[in-house]
Amino acid sequence: MFAILFLIFIVFTLVYGLFSAAILYHLNQYAVPGNTQSRVVISSFIFLSLLFWFFAIYFLVEIRMAT
Protein backbone atom coordinates (compact mmCIF):
# COMPACT_ATOMS: atom_id res chain seq x y z
CA MET A 1 0.00 0.00 0.00
CA PHE A 2 2.63 2.52 1.12
CA ALA A 3 4.99 1.56 -1.73
CA ILE A 4 2.30 2.18 -4.38
CA LEU A 5 1.32 5.52 -2.87
CA PHE A 6 4.97 6.52 -2.59
CA LEU A 7 5.51 5.70 -6.27
CA ILE A 8 2.40 7.70 -7.22
CA PHE A 9 3.72 10.61 -5.15
CA ILE A 10 7.13 10.55 -6.85
CA VAL A 11 5.63 10.45 -10.37
CA PHE A 12 3.09 13.16 -9.44
CA THR A 13 5.83 15.42 -8.03
CA LEU A 14 7.95 15.01 -11.17
CA VAL A 15 5.05 15.83 -13.54
CA TYR A 16 3.86 18.70 -11.33
CA GLY A 17 7.38 20.13 -11.15
CA LEU A 18 7.79 19.86 -14.91
CA PHE A 19 4.53 21.69 -15.67
CA SER A 20 5.20 24.35 -13.01
CA ALA A 21 8.68 24.99 -14.42
CA ALA A 22 7.22 25.31 -17.94
CA ILE A 23 4.60 27.84 -16.79
CA LEU A 24 7.15 29.86 -14.81
CA TYR A 25 9.49 29.86 -17.82
CA HIS A 26 6.69 31.18 -20.07
CA LEU A 27 5.81 33.93 -17.58
CA ASN A 28 9.43 35.02 -17.20
CA GLN A 29 10.06 34.89 -20.92
CA TYR A 30 6.91 36.49 -22.34
CA ALA A 31 5.46 38.82 -19.68
CA VAL A 32 5.56 42.53 -20.41
CA PRO A 33 8.57 44.06 -18.60
CA GLY A 34 7.80 45.89 -15.37
CA ASN A 35 4.58 44.04 -14.57
CA THR A 36 4.26 43.24 -10.85
CA GLN A 37 0.95 41.33 -11.07
CA SER A 38 2.71 38.19 -12.25
CA ARG A 39 5.11 38.21 -9.26
CA VAL A 40 2.19 38.16 -6.79
CA VAL A 41 0.47 35.26 -8.59
CA ILE A 42 3.73 33.30 -8.99
CA SER A 43 4.51 33.71 -5.26
CA SER A 44 0.98 32.57 -4.32
CA PHE A 45 1.24 29.57 -6.63
CA ILE A 46 4.62 28.49 -5.21
CA PHE A 47 3.42 28.99 -1.62
CA LEU A 48 0.17 27.00 -2.12
CA SER A 49 1.93 24.24 -4.07
CA LEU A 50 4.58 23.80 -1.36
CA LEU A 51 1.92 23.90 1.38
CA PHE A 52 -0.12 21.06 -0.15
CA TRP A 53 3.04 19.17 -1.13
CA PHE A 54 4.11 19.16 2.54
CA PHE A 55 0.58 18.10 3.51
CA ALA A 56 0.90 15.18 1.08
CA ILE A 57 4.28 14.19 2.58
CA TYR A 58 2.83 14.44 6.10
CA PHE A 59 -0.12 12.17 5.21
CA LEU A 60 2.24 9.77 3.44
CA VAL A 61 4.33 9.48 6.60
CA GLU A 62 1.11 8.94 8.60
CA ILE A 63 0.15 6.11 6.22
CA ARG A 64 3.62 4.57 6.73
CA MET A 65 3.05 4.73 10.52
CA ALA A 66 -0.44 3.21 10.25
CA THR A 67 0.70 0.24 8.13
Partner: protein
Protein backbone atom coordinates in the same frame (compact mmCIF):
# COMPACT_ATOMS: atom_id res chain seq x y z
CA UNK B 1 10.18 38.16 -25.44
CA UNK B 2 8.96 41.57 -26.52
CA UNK B 3 11.68 43.64 -28.17
CA UNK B 4 10.85 47.28 -28.75
CA UNK B 5 12.41 49.40 -31.45
CA UNK B 6 14.53 52.46 -30.80
CA UNK B 7 12.42 55.19 -29.19
CA UNK B 8 9.38 52.90 -29.14
CA UNK B 9 7.30 52.99 -25.95
CA UNK B 10 4.42 50.86 -24.68
CA UNK B 11 1.28 53.02 -24.47
CA UNK B 12 -1.12 50.44 -23.08
CA UNK B 13 -1.52 46.69 -22.61
CA UNK B 14 -5.00 45.20 -23.06
CA UNK B 15 -6.19 41.86 -21.75
CA UNK B 16 -9.53 40.12 -21.90
CA UNK B 17 -12.19 41.13 -19.38
CA UNK B 18 -12.32 39.14 -16.11
CA UNK B 19 -15.80 37.96 -17.06
CA UNK B 20 -14.20 35.71 -19.69
CA UNK B 21 -12.32 33.92 -16.87
CA UNK B 22 -15.41 33.55 -14.69
CA UNK B 23 -16.62 30.22 -16.10
CA UNK B 24 -13.31 28.44 -15.40
CA UNK B 25 -12.97 30.04 -11.95
CA UNK B 26 -16.51 28.88 -11.02
CA UNK B 27 -15.72 25.34 -12.26
CA UNK B 28 -12.57 25.22 -10.10
CA UNK B 29 -14.45 26.61 -7.09
CA UNK B 30 -17.08 23.86 -7.48
CA UNK B 31 -14.32 21.24 -7.75
CA UNK B 32 -12.71 22.67 -4.59
CA UNK B 33 -15.96 21.96 -2.73
CA UNK B 34 -15.47 18.24 -3.34
CA UNK B 35 -12.85 17.59 -0.58
CA UNK B 36 -15.08 18.83 2.29
CA UNK B 37 -17.93 16.67 0.93
CA UNK B 38 -15.65 13.59 0.74
CA UNK B 39 -14.29 14.23 4.25
CA UNK B 40 -17.86 14.50 5.60
CA UNK B 41 -19.19 11.39 3.88
CA UNK B 42 -16.11 9.18 4.39
CA UNK B 43 -16.53 8.41 8.13
CA UNK B 44 -19.94 6.93 7.29
CA UNK B 45 -18.47 4.40 4.83
CA UNK B 46 -16.82 1.06 5.76
CA UNK B 47 -14.14 -0.45 3.53
CA UNK B 48 -13.12 -3.46 5.62
CA UNK B 49 -9.79 -1.83 6.58
CA UNK B 50 -8.87 0.34 9.50
CA UNK B 51 -10.77 3.63 9.46
CA UNK B 52 -7.61 5.59 10.38
CA UNK B 53 -5.79 4.25 7.32
CA UNK B 54 -8.72 5.12 5.05
CA UNK B 55 -8.71 8.66 6.41
CA UNK B 56 -4.95 9.05 5.92
CA UNK B 57 -5.11 7.76 2.33
CA UNK B 58 -8.06 10.08 1.63
CA UNK B 59 -6.18 13.09 3.04
CA UNK B 60 -3.15 12.19 0.93
CA UNK B 61 -5.20 11.85 -2.27
CA UNK B 62 -7.08 15.09 -1.54
CA UNK B 63 -3.79 16.97 -1.08
CA UNK B 64 -2.69 15.85 -4.56
CA UNK B 65 -6.16 16.67 -5.91
CA UNK B 66 -5.98 20.26 -4.60
CA UNK B 67 -2.47 20.59 -6.08
CA UNK B 68 -3.84 19.57 -9.50
CA UNK B 69 -6.57 22.23 -9.20
CA UNK B 70 -4.01 24.88 -8.21
CA UNK B 71 -1.85 23.92 -11.20
CA UNK B 72 -4.84 24.03 -13.54
CA UNK B 73 -5.89 27.45 -12.22
CA UNK B 74 -2.32 28.75 -12.59
CA UNK B 75 -2.11 27.39 -16.14
CA UNK B 76 -5.40 29.07 -17.04
CA UNK B 77 -4.27 32.34 -15.47
CA UNK B 78 -1.01 32.18 -17.47
CA UNK B 79 -3.07 31.71 -20.62
CA UNK B 80 -5.16 34.78 -19.71
CA UNK B 81 -2.14 36.84 -18.65
CA UNK B 82 -0.03 36.18 -21.75
CA UNK B 83 -2.95 36.59 -24.16
CA UNK B 84 -2.78 40.34 -24.75
CA UNK B 85 -2.72 43.28 -27.11
CA UNK B 86 0.12 45.75 -26.73
CA UNK B 87 -0.26 49.25 -28.15
CA UNK B 88 3.08 50.97 -28.64
CA UNK B 89 4.01 54.28 -30.23
CA UNK B 90 4.78 52.39 -33.47
CA UNK B 91 2.44 49.37 -33.70
CA UNK B 92 -0.24 47.17 -32.20
CA UNK B 93 0.96 43.68 -31.24
CA UNK B 94 -1.53 40.82 -30.86
CA UNK B 95 -0.15 38.00 -28.70
CA UNK B 96 -2.31 34.86 -28.57
CA UNK B 97 -1.31 32.22 -26.03
CA UNK B 98 -3.09 28.85 -26.22
CA UNK B 99 -1.87 26.52 -23.50
CA UNK B 100 1.83 25.98 -23.02
CA UNK B 101 2.98 25.19 -26.52
CA UNK B 102 0.94 27.38 -28.89
CA UNK B 103 1.79 31.04 -29.25
CA UNK B 104 0.92 33.37 -32.12
CA UNK B 105 2.18 36.94 -32.47
CA UNK B 106 0.98 39.35 -35.14
CA UNK B 107 1.32 43.08 -35.45
CA UNK B 108 0.24 46.07 -37.51
CA UNK B 109 2.04 49.39 -37.76
CA UNK B 110 -0.06 52.32 -36.53
CA UNK B 111 0.52 54.02 -39.88
CA UNK B 112 -1.52 51.26 -41.61
CA UNK B 113 -4.66 51.89 -39.55
CA UNK B 114 -7.53 53.28 -41.58
CA UNK B 115 -10.56 52.82 -39.37
CA UNK B 116 -11.36 51.77 -35.80
CA UNK B 117 -14.78 50.37 -34.89
CA UNK B 118 -15.94 49.55 -31.37
CA UNK B 119 -18.68 46.95 -30.84
CA UNK B 120 -20.44 46.42 -27.52
CA UNK B 121 -23.11 43.73 -27.93
CA UNK B 122 -25.65 42.53 -25.40
CA UNK B 123 -26.60 43.33 -21.85
CA UNK B 124 -23.53 41.75 -20.18
CA UNK B 125 -21.02 43.60 -22.35
CA UNK B 126 -22.92 46.87 -21.84
CA UNK B 127 -23.08 46.62 -18.05
CA UNK B 128 -19.57 45.24 -17.57
CA UNK B 129 -18.14 47.68 -20.13
CA UNK B 130 -16.24 45.42 -22.48
CA UNK B 131 -16.50 44.51 -26.15
CA UNK B 132 -14.67 44.16 -29.44
CA UNK B 133 -12.52 46.63 -31.32
CA UNK B 134 -12.19 46.14 -35.09
CA UNK B 135 -9.20 47.79 -36.70
CA UNK B 136 -9.28 48.11 -40.45
CA UNK B 137 -5.87 48.33 -42.05
CA UNK B 138 -4.68 49.40 -45.48
CA UNK B 139 -5.05 46.38 -47.77
CA UNK B 140 -4.51 43.90 -44.97
CA UNK B 141 -6.67 41.66 -42.85
CA UNK B 142 -8.97 43.02 -40.19
CA UNK B 143 -7.41 43.22 -36.74
CA UNK B 144 -9.66 42.15 -33.87
CA UNK B 145 -9.28 43.01 -30.20
CA UNK B 146 -11.92 40.87 -28.51
CA UNK B 147 -13.62 40.88 -25.09
CA UNK B 148 -11.51 43.68 -23.66
CA UNK B 149 -12.42 46.54 -21.32
CA UNK B 150 -11.36 50.21 -21.70
CA UNK B 151 -12.16 50.19 -25.43
CA UNK B 152 -12.91 53.90 -25.72
CA UNK B 153 -9.82 54.89 -23.73
CA UNK B 154 -7.64 52.64 -25.92
CA UNK B 155 -9.20 54.02 -29.09
CA UNK B 156 -8.43 57.56 -27.85
CA UNK B 157 -4.81 56.56 -27.15
CA UNK B 158 -4.42 55.12 -30.66
CA UNK B 159 -6.10 58.11 -32.33
CA UNK B 160 -3.96 60.57 -30.31
CA UNK B 161 -0.81 58.70 -31.36
CA UNK B 162 -1.94 58.70 -34.99
CA UNK B 163 -2.55 62.46 -34.84
CA UNK B 164 0.96 62.97 -33.46
CA UNK B 165 2.37 61.09 -36.43
CA UNK B 166 0.34 62.98 -39.03
CA UNK B 167 2.27 65.84 -40.61
CA UNK B 168 1.01 69.28 -39.53
CA UNK B 169 -0.36 71.79 -42.05
CA UNK B 170 2.79 73.92 -41.75
CA UNK B 171 5.11 70.99 -42.46
CA UNK B 172 2.92 69.99 -45.44
CA UNK B 173 3.12 73.55 -46.80
CA UNK B 174 6.88 73.48 -46.26
CA UNK B 175 7.17 70.26 -48.27
CA UNK B 176 4.85 71.61 -51.01
CA UNK B 177 7.06 74.71 -51.54
CA UNK B 178 9.14 74.40 -54.68
CA UNK B 179 12.86 74.37 -54.07
CA UNK B 180 14.54 77.52 -55.22
Amino acid sequence: MLILGEGEKILTVMRKHWFVMLRTVITIMVLLLLPPVVLTVLPLAHFGVEQVLVEQVTNFVLSLYVMVLILFLFLFWMDYFLDMWIVTTERIIDVTQEGLFNRTISEIPLSHIQDITIEVRGIIETFLKFGTMRIQTAGEREFLIEDTPYLYETKDIIVAELRKKQPTKESRDQEAKPHE
